[in-house]
Symmetry: C2
Subunit: 404 residues, 2 copies
Amino acid sequence: MNGKSTTTRTKLERGRSALGPALELVHTGRAPTRAVLTSELGVTRATAGAVAAELEALGLIKVDSSPGSAAGSQGRPSHRLSIRDDGPVTLAAQVHSDGFRAALVGLGGRIVATAPGCVTVMADPAQVLGEVVEAGAQLLRETGLRCVGAGLAVPSAVAEPEGTALNPMHLAWPGGAPVREIFTSRVRAAGITGPAFTGNDVNLVALAEHRHGAGRGAQHLLCVATGHRGVGGALVLDGRLHTGSSGLALEVGHLTVNPEGRPCHCGGRGCLDVETDPLAFLTAARRTPGPEESLLKQAGDLLRTEYADPAVRTAAEELIDRLGLGLAGLVNILNPDRVILGGLHRDLLEADPDRLRAVVADRSLWGRSGSVPILSCTLAHSSLVGAAELAWQPVLDDPLTALV
Amino acid sequence: MNGKSTTTRTKLERGRSALGPALELVHTGRAPTRAVLTSELGVTRATAGAVAAELEALGLIKVDSSPGSAAGSQGRPSHRLSIRDDGPVTLAAQVHSDGFRAALVGLGGRIVATAPGCVTVMADPAQVLGEVVEAGAQLLRETGLRCVGAGLAVPSAVAEPEGTALNPMHLAWPGGAPVREIFTSRVRAAGITGPAFTGNDVNLVALAEHRHGAGRGAQHLLCVATGHRGVGGALVLDGRLHTGSSGLALEVGHLTVNPEGRPCHCGGRGCLDVETDPLAFLTAARRTPGPEESLLKQAGDLLRTEYADPAVRTAAEELIDRLGLGLAGLVNILNPDRVILGGLHRDLLEADPDRLRAVVADRSLWGRSGSVPILSCTLAHSSLVGAAELAWQPVLDDPLTALV
DNA sequence: GCAATTTGTTTAGTTGCGGCACAAAGGCAG
DNA sequence: CTGCCTTTGTGCCGCAACTAAACAAATTGC
């Protein structure tokens, strides 16, 4: 401690306090014009103008005066706000059992560039993460864009604050692997600037859908999704991921949804995990499951193309009923104002939306909470976009500090 | 709209922005001195001094300079901060199946005066609330204290934003009774100033315990408690009650904890509600249940005095195992950093804490979340204190506005 | 009694933002 | 085309809440 510059600058570093909220409004598409920004922020036009000018000076947004055709209202047309195409990006990475992938993602959730990635995942997390980061670094070199951070989505619960992957069983990775530490060191080694983050994939899907997809505007968003095996959940509260006190919240796979069901490795019977995932569906429909990394596709294709087959239909209805029971339990506990489904659960919803909604309404305690909207996830690469959101968060919280 | 005074005063009305946080720190006992207040608020000594002086000028706190014996540290002793004994109070009211009660509660959760209340609850909510408010108004007349608001705890889920009691079945009240509206109008009719609030009793227990009891300092506090019948839950996140999007969160009574258990009115079997409440305990211990309004006391007494009886012990262990299963499910979903138990669950915890903790650790997914501390509720009249917290909240958020 | 330490107080300066007045840019009616 | 109305953007003033820095006060330890 030199005793001089430690306590100084607290206010200077904070910068204009409305800057972060303003950027978030543009980022999520809720502030198309400066006039809307003014009312959404609850500040005067003068302040909103200054904030927009500052975000423009930072190279994050564009302020287009007189874009020609405005809305039909009278009065002076408002300046339009939009994310700059050539602004900074974040590096987003994703690891699943069917491969890994890297992309550059700009503000607004726009995927600027994607690397082809790999379809096999090695057993050594350091090697996998090294390759995926290198793919992202290559994209950065090709595009010459500025990178302000990196985010990684993994199909495992991530314990906080350590950043270890607790159950990456579908990756053949060792349990408890320090994925955040590995990812961070690989990002540093690749010469990429900015902080690095790691999160559970379903959490990041929920975050992405909340900001840019089917979850926009929800205050209490519950997301439930399958991968190839197992079920994950996530909750976004007031725009922030709720990960619990140690990152393990919304581990919903072991809710009991079938008292007479098959045993689960958790010690119980009939858990959501083993009753509503793609393997459960294929088994119930009496099909031969293919390799693990294609279970989701196999189950989804079966559901979409052979729903007329009685065995398929019966299996689907069975899973829908079980899923509905699980969702009803979660609705009773969390009381969300919107539920979105991904993976096979999304396909089940679309196969028979009325049945699923009826089960949830019937088994959640009161009609009011039973009438919670249940929707499909809509984004194409939501876990990549969600990983990018992690990296964008410091910028959204305080653009001045995050961008130096 | 007169077009003149609508948008003005937004900043003036806000007042000194650190005032609310400072009062909350004193209120919850986390700022015993001005020096601590300075560091907790993260402001300069000058600001903390001004804030403390302003709270003193508002008549809320005392600033005692030189209280004689300070702590052993060297340097100039810091001024002590404390809640004023003769400061304003809130009116707290509570309705349970075994009676209702009114009290005056000061800052810091101190119960200033209590009205004896009544042990029978009539079927007409308007009449009950009228009587309990009148009892509180009488206390106010006797003490001459200033009242800044009123809060009511009811043993029912309270739907938001309507403020209706959805399932006050143990009160013989009609479902959907507009309790907030009735309570507010009775408070107004009694000439009591300030806003009126209504909440679920377990929620308010959790809030009170978080601020003044066993939940202090927890960031993610889960509270589970029984009354005479049924089980309720509550979650306090970052100091605020999580009531979900429509007030119905943490309706935990219908988690499945015994697949072969008795049928529940919800349509399932073996729900937490019917497997771990006082009636379930008395039945399992082969005792004759007394009248509904004494079930909790009967079960608690039995558990504490006759634990040596094999039937009692077996019943207790059965309930502990079921409760542990339910808690494990909640821990998996919510990942709290502390769990507190009330009602019979508290007694069960104290009868065999190791057994309960072992079940939760065993059935929650990872050791880390399994090691969540499970504690007993400690406050004497926590639902009254919690109801008072509701009424204090506007003052804690912005003392200047709330106190005019 | 004197230094060291910690806390309280005063003063000056910075700053984010509201309030206000005015300018700008469109629609609408004649 | 020309006013008039409506809505939005901008410059200027001032306030209020804070920080920073210097000084004063109260205690411990030597």
